[in-house]
């Protein structure tokens, strides 16, 4: 049973945004009863049917690595965290809809995860600021999830949702807004569930089908060296 293929997805975000609840909800379809601080990293596994409903259906294990901590941690914590960023196939960025700063920190989180290789060799391409070009070049599938939707008052909802839409555009990613204490948001068949399913499919595709040649139609040529370097890092 453990011989199914596996994919690794990181779940990143500030402290207290609800990553552990989210992961628990995704993997066990149950609400997490007593959320507590994540020290280090906690992993959970979801069994996913790739291309469900088609004859090419195949089951994969998706490992969700939920890394704890904040962007402003000491560099010793950051170095330890970097050990988890090896051979990542996809990233889920989690932010808190009630807290604007957590969405701003998402840029730094993605820089930390994607720049892992450059940081280790001591050469930073950017000085830690958000670099749009680098994201345009990015091949790693990203998904942005906003949590604590229930705590936003009805009147403010529209403004918050437009802001998150901009955020998703910046990252060139899909976005989902939900409440981790309510399994209704991820019920089978809802648009959220479809988006998540599509995201996982994309991750699996990039991981397994990219190496077997260009099976994905319309795959654009990578002109910059940095881009190809990143894709070679998938084990």
């Amino acid at each position: 049973m453990a011989s199914l293929d596996r994919v690794k997805v990181l779940v990143l975000g500030d402290s207290g945004v609800g990553k552990s609840s989210l992961v628990h909800l995704l993997c066990q379809n149950q609400v997490l009863g007593n959320p507590s601080w994540t020290v280090g990293c906690s992993v959970d596994v979801r069994v996913h049917d790739y291309k469900e409903g088609t004859p090419e259906e195949k089951t994969y294990y998706i490992e969700l690595w939920d890394v704890g901590g904040s962007v402003g941690s000491a560099s010793s914590v950051k170095s330890t965290r970097a050990v988890f960023y090896n051979s990542v196939n996809g990233i889920i960025l989690v932010h808190d809809l009630t807290n604007k700063k957590s969405s701003q920190n998402l840029y730094r989180w993605s820089m930390e995860a994607l720049n892992r290789d450059l940081v280790l060799t001591g050469v930073l391409v950017t000085n830690g600021d958000y670099d749009r070009e680098q994201f345009a070049d990015n091949q790693m599938p990203l998904l942005i999830i906003g949590t604590k939707l229930d705590q936003i008052h009805e009147t403010k909802r529209h403004e918050v949702l437009t802001r998150t839409a901009f955020l998703a555009e910046d990252f060139n990613a899909e976005e989902i807004n939900l409440d981790c204490t309510n399994p209704r948001y991820l019920a089978a068949g809802s648009s959220n569930a479809v988006k998540i399913s599509r995201f996982f499919d994309k991750v699996i595709e990039k991981r397994y089908f990219l190496r077997e040649g260009n099976q994905i139609p319309g795959f654009p040529d990578r002109k910059r060296f940095g881009g190809t370097l990143k894709s070679l890092h998938y084990d």
Binding site: M1, A2, L4, Q28, S76, N99, K100
Partner: protein, 441 residues
């Protein structure tokens, strides 16, 4: 006014870097507390310098003190109670009456605090300033002594490279490998669990945790083999997760130590190392003095500067104009003490805040910090009296009324000694434990 702005800035930049500031009241309170505390110190410095008229200084003191006490005793606890209560969702509707209740409890305990100490003097009424100051002073002095005791021991430990263990890259790599191996084990177990759950779900059984009396009975009698397996694996996973957390923390520790080693090789590092030696001597001397004070039950009448100068005059025969020099030197010393203590306090508070804050409780914590800060400042004014020459003590004595200053100094010494000794013990244990963990492969 300047201080107000500074407090505001500090709040925004350091403390609330990751959170949105929603309640402006909190911010205002914090900055106001900070501003008034700094004004107190400003007044001390004015005192020494002789700026402003004596009577106007007196007036400023009184006013300042009143305001601070008001804030410390009335407003801050009230707001703390308010925020704590609003965090608990159950009582959301009746916030106001509950917070009043909390505040009354606080006042009650506050009053009770004064009983075992020799503070109550029959000359003054219940709500006089002396009473309030005395109680605030007690709490503040305790806090100060605890913090400085710990700081006095921690400071040489951190700065001196003598205590740094040798960490090599291979150690770190080995730990990282272990960490990843543990994660892999956790993953494989979780995969089994997930697959088992899926097959059970497809077969129509639902694995639910036994809830309630009947649930437990059911699980005892009709136990499906699947769910039994699950709980077993779950326990193994829990143990492995605990292990992974430990490994993570150890790795972080090693990285931090390695960075410190590298830092100590640089120029700045050497400079701090030297300072560390100096500080450690100073701290040891302080501990020694505290012990002597307690054992011989004596409280210094003259401040150390004047005494130091007297000693030099007597022993070395150098002609000093004692008055003149003592004034300047004590001023400088007092200034240094004030600045370093403020800085140290702010840094400690920031670290503390980062360590335990979360989105919900950030407001409460900031208020707590403001409270602590206010008490700290008030009590440091009390204690600074010790380090100043006689003629400047008069105004503080005048303003603060008849407090038993000697008592405070004794109390400070006792707590200081206790906390210093306990932190020495604690650090010694931690230091001994750590190398053993790394020696075993």
């Amino acid at each position: 006014i300047l201080f107000f702005g500074f407090g505001w800035l500090f709040f925004m930049r350091q403390l609330f870097k990751d959170y949105e500031v929603r309640q402006y009241a909190v911010q205002v309170i914090f900055s106001v507390t900070f501003a008034f505390s700094c004004t107190m110190f400003e007044l001390i410095i004015f005192e020494i310098l002789g700026v402003l008229n004596s009577s106007s200084r007196y007036f400023h003191w009184k006013m300042n003190l009143c305001v601070i006490l008001l804030i410390l005793i009335f407003m801050v606890p009230f707001y703390i109670g308010y925020f704590v209560v609003s965090n608990i969702r159950l009582l959301h509707k009746q916030r106001l009456p509950f917070s009043c209740l909390l505040w009354l409890t606080f006042m009650y305990f506050f009053w009770k605090l004064g009983d075992p100490f020799p503070i109550l003097s029959p000359k003054h009424g219940i709500l006089s300033i002396e009473q309030l100051i005395s109680r605030v002073g007690v709490i503040g002095v305790t806090l100060m002594a605890l913090l400085s005791g710990f700081g006095a021991v921690n400071c040489p430990y951190t700065y001196m490279s003598y205590f740094l263990r040798n960490v090599t890259d291979t150690d770190i790599l080995a730990l990282e490998r272990r960490l990843l191996q543990t994660m892999d084990m956790i993953i494989s177990k979780k995969k089994r669990m997930a697959m088992a759950r899926r097959t059970m779900f497809q077969r129509g059984e639902v694995p639910n945790k036994p809830s309630g009396f009947w649930g437990i009975l059911k699980s005892v009698t009709a136990s499906a083999p699947g769910s039994e397996n699950l709980t077993l694996i779950q326990q193994e996973v829990d143990a492995l997760e605990e292990l992974s957390r430990q490994l993570f923390l150890e790795t972080t520790d090693l990285y931090a130590t390695k960075e410190r080693i590298e830092y100590s090789k640089t120029f700045k590092g050497k400079y701090f190392n030297f300072l560390g030696y100096f500080f450690s001597i100073y701290c040891v001397w302080k501990i020694f003095m505290a012990t002597i004070n307690i054992v011989f039950d004596r409280v210094g009448k003259t401040d150390p500067v004047t005494r130091g100068i007297e000693i030099t005059v007597n022993y070395l025969g150098i002609q000093f104009d004692v008055k003149f020099w003592s004034q300047h030197i004590s001023f400088i010393l007092v200034g240094i003490i004030i600045v370093t203590s403020i800085r140290g306090l702010l840094i400690t508070l920031t670290k503390f805040f980062y360590a335990i804050s979360s989105s919900k409780s950030s407001n409460v914590i900031v208020l707590l910090l403001a409270q602590i800060m206010g008490m700290y400042f008030v009590s440091s004014v009390l204690l600074i009296r010790m380090s100043m020459p006689l003629e400047y003590r008069t105004i503080i004595t005048e303003v603060l009324g008849e407090l038993q200053f000697n008592f405070y100094h004794r109390w400070f010494d006792v707590i200081f000694l206790v906390s210093a000794l306990s932190s020495i013990l604690f650090l010694y244990l931690a230091h001994k434990q750590a190398p053993e963990k790394h020696m075993t492969p």
